[in-house]
């Protein structure tokens, strides 16, 4: 197989409050022989908030990010569900509206760039599943996670709106019964936990403005995983990770029950199975202690 190569859109969180996500992404890519060219010129995607204030600016900035992936002639790979959604949504809107695309390109021309629509946009989770292949991953597992019950937490913006999925990755998810993370857990040798909240919202995006709503959603998600007998949770989204890992005190208070579980990034889970060290994967950066390794 030709070496896989992507333009990596890190998003902001992997560079700030989840450094372990960046470390584990690099460690896993290295093990799998995937080359990642970091888009250091990229800006924030607007995280599903900028568009509430200034939709056109959000489009221009996301188009600029994709334009840099296009310059490299590579598929853009994201490592955050919300980055994935904002980028994929921008691509969808521009690719389906010539007038809008022309308007955006008029702006990009001011800085010598053009959005063409030639680069695909996918999430690292789907790059592993669709392009690398789970069978191949299975063959490379050196430390099967067989003693663990692992609760997948999908995160909204990878699975909804489902109409975007056909355009961004081949392993199309059923938002009511998603399977990608479960498949990944199984490929790593773990047992998956089935629970009602696995495809529900963690509440991250309203943590500041609607803290009670956010805390209840977080609490319910962790409680669901705990009731499913999970040893830990795993998520492809650093924002879900942040919410589930750092907000357990608020969540416990909101639902009237102590809830806490280790919440690993999917890259950390894959890294463990591939034999990376806990230090390489940044497992010491979590608030909920990861004490099983």
């Amino acid at each position: 197989m030709e070496k896989l190569k992507y333009a990596l859109f890190t998003g902001c969180t992997a560079k700030q409050s989840t450094p372990e996500q960046m470390m584990s992404t690099m460690a896993v890519a290295d093990k799998l022989g995937i080359e990642l060219v970091e888009l250091t010129e990229a800006s924030c995607c607007g995280a599903s908030h900028l568009q509430d204030y200034d939709d056109f600016l959000s489009l221009v900035l996301n188009a600029r990010n994709i334009a840099y992936a296009e310059k490299h002639g590579l598929t853009m790979v994201t490592i955050c569900n919300t980055c994935q959604l904002n980028t994929a949504m921008t691509k969808h809107r521009l690719d389906n509206n010539e007038e809008l695309k022309a308007k955006v390109n008029e702006k990009l021309a001011e800085v010598g760039l053009e959005y063409k629509g030639t680069s695909e946009v996918t999430h690292f989770l789907y790059a592993i599943i669709d392009d690398f292949g789970l069978d191949k991953l299975k063959e490379m597992v050196v430390t099967p996670l067989s003693q663990f019950n692992i609760a997948p937490f999908y995160g909204c913006h990878n699975i909804r709106p489902s109409e975007l999925q056909n355009e961004t990755h081949k392993s199309v998810e059923n938002p009511y019964n998603p399977t990608s993370l479960d498949d990944l857990i199984i490929a790593c040798g773990g047992e998956t936990v089935d629970y009602d909240e696995k495809n529900k919202c963690c509440g991250f995006h309203v943590e500041l403005q609607a803290p009670h709503t956010a805390a209840v959603l977080t609490g319910n998600a962790i409680a669901g995983a705990m009731d499913g007998n999970a040893d830990w949770m795993v998520t492809p989204c650093p924002l879900c990770h942040l919410k589930l890992d750092t907000q357990t005190a608020h969540a416990s208070e909101a639902i009237g029950r102590e809830v806490e579980l280790p919440v690993l990034h999917m890259q950390q889970m894959v890294g463990l199975a591939l034999g990376c060290t806990p230090a390489e994967l940044g497992l010491n950066h979590h608030l909920a202690k990861v004490d099983f390794v």
Partner: protein, 326 residues
């Protein structure tokens, strides 16, 4: 070439939610095994349960045409218009074990029939009608151009089925929250060029009840059988608040505006700075968690943030592309 249409049948097990508020203490599930044909829709199954198995089984339906909104239920957790949803598609999505439930289990009166009072109260609360001074003896018609009609973005096609409302996690958690259908209705009239309401947009911007409490989960977009995309309308209501100059200077609004400020400064976000800008002095309540994050290396101080390369490009684009004011 044969154009013969082949009807196929398959065995499906239905696990059906049953509850009668007058008699039952707890709900229970009844199993029904049936041969289902590829021609049937979910409503046919509900009918067959009632006609062939148990006459007391209760549900709502009226038009059988996907336009009255009465028959909305959940199949395997997915909101569905029973009269529109084909059994073939359901089996393709979920396999041969299907769980039939009402839209909201906690609001059940009998089997699939729920009390939608909260839905209608929320609907009423957003001034869901056109507010306009009408000349009693108009000299001409009040014409709307096709371009202006397009601005409604099909929000007028809502059939009030409640599928989105009872799929919305914010509705479940926050009893004040208007919910996606009410927002779709609010947008439908606020976007109408003939409308002069002065209160609707302010109402849907109030904290606790309004658009700022939407968690952006896209459940409503997924659930809507009429493809109205309520969260798309919610986004537009956010934007209207800025355009009309009614966005209040509160934590929710500053959180949206803060992104532009942060991007202008660094290209990437300054996550701590964003929280500070959004919360103001109230940021102190985050300090215990922030401290724990700091000790785990999860917080980067403002001076440690790696700015985007070619930041000048980003700044130029922010200046030249941004029209929103706050």
């Amino acid at each position: 070439m044969s154009t013969e249409h082949k009807i196929t049948t398959q065995k499906v097990n239905f696990k059906v939610f049953r509850f009668n508020a007058d008699e039952d203490y707890l709900p229970y599930y009844e199993n029904y095994d049936m041969e289902v044909t590829s021609e049937e829709v979910v409503l046919d199954i509900l009918n067959r349960i009632k006609w062939d198995h148990d006459g007391s089984f209760s549900y709502r339906r009226s038009c059988r045409h996907g336009i009255c909104g009465a028959c909305a239920i959940k199949v395997n957790g997915r909101s569905t218009l029973a009269c529109k949803e084909s059994m073939n598609d359901m089996v393709e999505l979920f396999g041969n074990e299907l769980v039939i439930e009402p839209l909201s289990k906690k609001r059940v009166i009998k089997d699939m029939i729920i009390d939608k009072a909260d839905f209608w109260e929320k609907h009423d609360a957003v001034t869901p009608y056109l507010v306009a001074e009408i000349d009693e003896n108009p000299q001409s018609e009040n014409l709307v151009s096709p371009e202006d009609a397009d601005k409604l973005d099909e929000a007028d096609l809502c059939i009030q089925c409640g599928a989105c409302h009872y799929a919305c996690p914010a509705v479940e958690v926050n009893e004040d929250f208007f919910g996606p259908a009410a927002f779709a209705a609010a947008y439908r009239f606020s976007a109408d060029v003939r409308d002069n309401s002065t209160s609707r947009l302010a109402d849907v911007n109030e904290e606790k009840q309004g658009v700022w409490d939407c968690v952006k989960c896209f459940e409503c977009a997924e659930a809507c059988p009429k493809e109205i995309n309520p969260i798309g309308k919610i986004t537009k209501l956010h934007q209207m608040a800025f355009q009309e100059g009614i966005a209040k200077n509160n934590v929710a609004v500053r959180h949206a505006v803060g992104f532009k400020k942060s991007i202008m400064k660094n290209g990437v976000l300054d996550e701590g700075g964003l929280v500070l800008y959004s919360e103001g002095p109230a940021i102190v309540k985050h300090l215990p968690v922030a401290f724990r994050m700091f000790t785990k290396g999860k917080i980067v101080p403002p001076w440690g943030i790696t700015k985007s390369e070619n930041l000048d490009e980003i700044q130029k684009l922010v200046k030249s592309s941004s029209t929103a004011k706050f």
